[in-house]
Subunit: 368 residues, 2 copies
DNA sequence: GTGAAAGCGCTAACAT
DNA sequence: ATGTTAGCGCTTTCAC
């Protein structure tokens, strides 16, 4: 029996049944017409659409998803909203998701494993059709667990590969190597490294630094300081590193690079070269503009969605994509020597202050 | 009849019915036990929980929400993921939402009105219980529309108040005034303004600038350049502004302030004072550290959630909260004169390089 | 071309 | 304390 149980007054939102009543048809027809199923006569279809419009009808995603068993939603779980690296990956995800007709929902877990797990759970309960995890903080266990229910891809370097979870990462080792080689080519020998703590990506960069120093015969000059958890850990470690009197520093990321420049400035040190990592917008915003290793963030986001669709399409073997980073050279690196400090120099607004490229991007792929 | 229609094999996720079958009880009992309803005997409850655990059961939010008529989800719609001002507001929203048991879903609309509207629509179709819009780009029309279905609060200065929509904003006029007065107190007279284009917040800051200049008897020195839409619009406008030879600049936001410093540096200008707005982390990251007007972002986020709960609690009159910003003084402002340039100076890591406060935060409230 | 009926997974009366 | 029954709003056979 198709009827309205109460006048569709303020508060109750119109349902398909209300539209049906208003148009004088059955609710099945409304459902069909609304999704443009041809097989509904022009006339009725028009009548139905008009009624829907008039009532301000909007489909209830919950109800539809419940019956269809899929939501056309992709969940993105991220650790750090404040990190431009992460948000640019998200932009890539959104771009591809849009193209495939998915709606993207973001969940933010902070740097808190428990919270991250809760947010992931919330996404799963919502029955998103796939999840992109932009974080290496989530425990492999939780990740694998989620992958048992829905396609999951993680962007970033995992502590260990979780079965069923695809990954997209950049080659941190190669990025570190490019940074160190750039400095060595400029003539630096005393190249120090300001390292991150613990996370897999940091470790890989550090390893890349050390191996490259060794390969270049500069192993004796290798010096590492690790950023601690304490407040101002970055500045403190940077200060300690400068105490060893390097002529150049490869920093684990752009913020660390800024801390080095900050300490150098404070100490009156001059002519120090610094390379960052991630090539966030900071790198082109601060003075001196930062030489930095760029990861192809939006490509990584695109790729994540592609991997998800492949899984939905039935792929079962795990896939681990590794993209090649490229060095972007700007003003924070120059040959060693006390004269290296730069004075004012024009970079007119009509010539965008972009860096010269070092490496060309390319892609590696491997399937264990 | 409680039975499983097919073996809960790989692929089909276990439902409450599966758990019921496994525990040998009815599905209602499972529902009750799962939500810890006392009124279920210890023994059965334990049996049910065990079965659920064993099957890896997780409730289906879709189904629950459909019947309950609410989702315990809050939607946050934001314009610009890359803007730290926005993300810090979001952090405030998350904090309060967590405390009230809501899950927060973020939707990202870019700076695109159409996309923004689509994302809002997606949130509504999901039946979120409330929406926080962190953006002043969405059309008042769409906003009011949404407010007709669910509580909506917008954070930011609206083009016009949309009926049914609460707002939370900072007093841009007062912030601008604080900035200009600070510069005047330092002895500046030739204080110029690098203005934003169009948006209500920019307009209010510009007005604040002009009125304060007038009040200080400096109207004759008031000079404004507006940032255009062209690429490098910021740098171009900053350059033009410097052409008028001000001794100080009040910039519409931190990025604009950086553009001014950049142009000044390039031109070899020395001793220029610059004040930014928003006090993003950039302000304390770059050299010189930026004097900037701070908005109480997390408080704004908290407040947004409070307004939402009030609406859910039945409030019907609109509410428009206006928070008072405060000036944070750092190194980019000093008395006028060519000698004002700063050399290296210690700010040891043990003394956090925080700014001295100008104004104290406080709160205004108004209900039309 | 259109309508009736069954159900998605869950909760919430209402029985027993 | 436990089971039965009716939906939530929608899609989807399957008749007419």
């Amino acid at each position: 029996m198709t009827r309205t149980k109460e006048p569709p007054g303020r508060g109750r939102r119109p349902t398909i049944v209300d539209v049906a009543a208003a148009a004088g048809v059955s609710k099945s027809l409304v459902s069909l017409a609304l999704r443009g199923d041809r097989g509904v006569s022009e006339a009725t279809s028009a009548r139905i659409l008009a009624a829907a419009e008039r009532l301000g009808y909007r489909s209830n995603t919950l109800a539809r998803s419940l019956v269809q068993g899929r939501t056309m939603m992709l969940g993105v779980l991220l650790t750090d909203l404040a990190n431009p690296y992460h948000t640019e990956v998200v932009a890539g995800v959104e771009e591809s998701a849009d193209a495939e007709g998915f709606t993207v929902l973001l969940a933010h877990g902070q740097r808190d494993r428990a919270r991250l797990a809760r947010q992931l759970d919330a996404l799963l309960r919502l029955n998103v059709d796939g999840v992109v995890v932009v974080s290496s903080w989530l425990e492999p266990r939780a990740l694998a667990d989620a992958a048992g229910r829905v396609p999951v891809v993680m962007v970033g370097r995992p502590e260990e590969f979780a079965p069923g979870v695809d990954t997209v990462a950049n080659d941190d080792r190669a990025g570190a190597e490019a940074a160190v080689r750039h400095l060595a080519e400029l003539g630096h020998e005393r190249i120090a490294h300001l390292a991150g703590s613990g996370r897999p990506a940091s470790r890989a960069r550090r390893r890349g630094y050390q191996e490259t120093m060794r390969d270049l015969g500069l192993a004796d000059h290798a010096t590492v300081r690790e950023i601690g958890d304490a407040p101002h850990g970055r500045e403190r470690a940077a200060g300690a590193l400068l105490g060893t009197e390097p002529t150049a520093v490869f920093a684990v990321n752009d913020l660390a690079a800024l801390a080095v420049l900050d300490r150098a400035y404070t100490a009156g040190t001059t002519g120090l070269s610094v390379v960052g990592y991630d090539n966030t917008f900071l790198a082109q915003t601060v003075r001196p503009r930062l030489t930095s290793v760029d990861q192809p963030r939006s490509v990584m986001g695109n790729l994540a969605v592609r991997l998800l669709s492949e899984r939905m399409g039935g792929r079962t073997e795990d896939r681990h994509e590794v993209l090649v980073p490229r060095l972007v050279v700007r003003d924070s690196t120059s040959p060693p020597g006390p004269l290296a400090e730069r004075g004012p120099q024009d970079s007119s607004p009509s010539t965008p202050p972009e860096g010269r490229e070092g490496h060309r991007p390319s892609r590696g792929r491997r399937t264990p």
